[in-house]
C-alpha cells in the first residue's frame, strides 16, 4: 500500500465522552454515527451483522480477527436467506481489531470488506478493541461516530426512534403448511426464529408489528426480537395486552420478551452495556438447570414489578438480571435470550417445543 492511500484511508472512531481511536477505513468509504456496542462472539459475523436488532448501532467485535471464513453467497431470489439473519447488513458501522481480506472456506464467496462495500456500511480496523471495550464496560454503551478525514456529522441516538418500523416486514407473509397456525409479529425478526418454527411443521404467518390481526385465524403468537427501546412501542404493548386477555398462547423472544413483560405490567430498564455474546449462562429457576445462550439486548425486565400470577423463569448467572418470565397457569412465556441461536449455541431450542406443546 502506498503512503498516499494509507493516509486517505485513515479514519477515527470518536466516542461521546471524548475518547478518540485512530484506525483505517474498510468496506464502504463513508462516515457514520450510532450507539457503540460490543459483541464478544467468536464466530458468526455474517449472522451477527444481519441481525435486525443491531439497527442503529456501531458494532465492536472483541474477537480480534474477523473475516477469516469470508461471506457466503447471498441469493436474492431466496424467500428465506440461507446463511444470514435478514437480507441485508443492519449495523451502522463495524469496528474490528484486524479484518481478514484473505479468507479460507469452501462456502466463502466474498471478503467481509467487499460485503460491507455492497451495503454501503463503513468499517474501521486497527482499533484497540480491548481498550475500547474496557471503556464501554466502565462508562456503559455510548454514542459514537466513525469519521473519515474532516467530515462532520452529528451523533445519533437510536433509543428515541421507532426503529422497528425500519426493519419489520412490509406486508403479511405466509410460510409452511402445517396444521398449527402461528402468528409471528415481526419486530425485526431474525430468520432463524422463522426457520426454527418451520422445522417443527407449522404454518407461520409473519406480520408487521402494527398489523391489525383481529380478522386473522391462529393458534398461537410469537413476538420476535427487534431493535431499540421497548417502552416506546405503546401500540404493540396494547395489542399484546389484548392477546393476553384472549388467553392466546404466547411466546416472546428478546424484544418480544420485553413487550410481553410490559404488557403484563412490569417495567424495563437499560443495562449498562447490555448482553451481546454467545456465551451467556442462564439458569432455569425452578429446575436449577444451566444453559449457555446467545444474547443481544440493551434493555432488561425488572422482575420486582412482576404482577401476581407471573414468575421469573430464567436468570442470568453473570449479573442475575432476568432472562425470562412465564405465567403460573396460562400459556404465556417469554425469554430474553435467543433460543434460535444463530449465531450461538443451540442449547435452548427446546423453548420452541414447549411453546408448541401448549398449542395442541
Amino acid at each position: 500500500m502506498s503512503k498516499k492511500t494509507a493516509i486517505k484511508n485513515r479514519a477515527r472512531l470518536i466516542l461521546k465522552n471524548g475518547n478518540i481511536f485512530e484506525g483505517t477505513i474498510f468496506g464502504y468509504q463513508t462516515s457514520a454515527a450510532g450507539e457503540v456496542v460490543f459483541n464478544t462472539g467468536m464466530v458468526g459475523y455474517p449472522e451477527t451483522l444481519t441481525d435486525p436488532s443491531y439497527k442503529g448501532q456501531i458494532l465492536v467485535m472483541t474477537y480480534p480477527l474477523i473475516g477469516n471464513y469470508g461471506i457466503p453467497v447471498f441469493n436474492i431470489n431466496e424467500d428465506i436467506p440461507k446463511y444470514f439473519e435478514s437480507n441485508k447488513i443492519q449495523i451502522q458501522g463495524l469496528v474490528v481489531s484486524e479484518q481478514s481480506e484473505l479468507f479460507s472456506h469452501w462456502n466463502g464467496f466474498q471478503s467481509l470488506s467487499n460485503w460491507l462495500k455492497r451495503y454501503h456500511i463503513p468499517g474501521i480496523y486497527g482499533i484497540d478493541t480491548r481498550r475500547l471495550t474496557k471503556i464501554l464496560r466502565e462508562h456503559g454503551t455510548m454514542l459514537g461516530k466513525i469519521l473519515i478525514g474532516d467530515d462532520k456529522i452529528d451523533y445519533y441516538d437510536p433509543d428515541v426512534e421507532d426503529l422497528i418500523s425500519k426493519v419489520t416486514v412490509a406486508k403479511r407473509e405466509k410460510y409452511g403448511n402445517g396444521s398449527t397456525k402461528i402468528l409471528l409479529i415481526d419486530c425485526g425478526c431474525k430468520k432463524s426464529i422463522l426457520t426454527n418454527l418451520l422445522q417443527r411443521d407449522v404454518t407461520v404467518i409473519k406480520v408487521p408489528y402494527n398489523y391489525e390481526f383481529d380478522g386473522e385465524d391462529f393458534d398461537g403468537v410469537v413476538i420476535s426480537n427487534g431493535p431499540g427501546n421497548p417502552a416506546i412501542y405503546k401500540q404493540l404493548i396494547e395489542s399484546t395486552q389484548k392477546l393476553l386477555k384472549k388467553q392466546v398462547p404466547l411466546l416472546g423472544i428478546c424484544m418480544g420478551h420485553q413487550i410481553l413483560s410490559l404488557a403484563a405490567g412490569t417495567k424495563t430498564y437499560k443495562l449498562k452495556y447490555g448482553h451481546r455474546s454467545q456465551n451467556q449462562p442462564v439458569k432455569e429457576i425452578d429446575s436449577n438447570k444451566c444453559y449457555v445462550t446467545s444474547q443481544n439486548h440493551s434493555f432488561a425486565v425488572d422482575t420486582k414489578s412482576l404482577p401476581r400470577g407471573w414468575e421469573p423463569w430464567f436468570e442470568n448467572l453473570n449479573d442475575y438480571s432476568n432472562e425470562g418470565i412465564r405465567h403460573e397457569k396460562l400459556p404465556f412465556r417469554s425469554v430474553q435470550f435467543h433460543p434460535e441461536a444463530a449465531p450461538g449455541p443451540v442449547d435452548t431450542s427446546f423453548i420452541f417445543d414447549e411453546f408448541l406443546k401448549d398449542l395442541k
Binding site: M42, V43, G44, L65, Y69, Y83, S104, K289, P343
Partner: protein, 287 residues
Amino acid sequence: MKHKKVLIIGSSALKIGEAGEFDYSGSQAIKALKEERIYTILINPNIATIQTSDYLADKVYLLPINTHYVERVIEKEKPDGIILGFGGQTALNCGLALHREGILKKHKVEVLGTQIETIENTEDRQLFCNKLSEIDVKFPRSNAVNTVEDAVQYAEEIGFPVIIRIAYALGGLGSGICRSKNEVKRIASKALSYSSQILVEEYLEGWKEIEYEVVRDKYDNCITVCNMENIDPMGIHTGESIVVAPSQTLTNNEYHKLREIAIRTIRHLGIVGECNIQYALDPKSEE
C-alpha cells in the same frame, strides 16, 4: 459430605496422547477436592509434574501406576473414593484392571466422576462406535479385527487408504496408514503384537481436524470450554501439528453443529468430568 478420602490416579510419564494436560487436569481435580475439604491421595511416579508438588495433594505416592501398587496404596490408606478420569490413558487402563480384578469392590472404593462402564464404552472402539450410532453421530467406517487376514479383507471392502489402530490406545500408539494390501499386512501384524484387537478404519486424509473440550457435571449441565483447530489437516499426527484455540475457519453453523454433537455425545456416554472430542470436518462441505 459423603466422601472423606479420595485417591487420584495421576498422569504418569509424559508421552504422545498423554502429555502435560493430564498433569494439569489432575492438579485441578486435587484443588477441587481440597475445596470440598476432602483428604486427597495421589499416585504418580513422575516427579517432574506439578501435581506431585507438596502444596497440592495431602499425600503423594511416587509409585508406578499398575494394579499391584495401587492396591497396596488402597490397603494402606483405605480411601472411600477413587478418581480415574484425570490421568490419561494409563490411569483409565489401570482403572479398568482394578475393576476387572475386583480390587475396587473388595476394598469398597467407589469410582467418582466418569464410571467404569463409560470408560469401557469409550476405550473399546467397537463399543464406542455402537454408542455413537445410537445417537446418529457419524464416524469413519471402522471394524475391529483379530487377525491380519481379516484386516486385509476389511481394508479392501472400504477401500484404501485405511488407518490401523490398536484398541485401548487413544494416543495412536502402534497405528499406521496403509495405502496398499502389503502395508496392511505389515502394519496389522505389528499392531497385533501389541494387542489382540486392532481396528481398521476409513482414513479421512486432508480433512480439517477440530477438537472440543467439554465438561459435564453429575446434574447433566454441559459446557464446551473451547474448540480448537489443527492448522495441519488430518494425516499429520496431533502430537506434531500446531493447534489454535478457538477455531479459525469454521462458520457459525459448523461450530455449533459440532458443539451440539459434542454435548449430545458426552451426555449419551455419561461422562462426568472433562473430555476431549475430536472431529474430522470435510473442508468442502458441512459433513
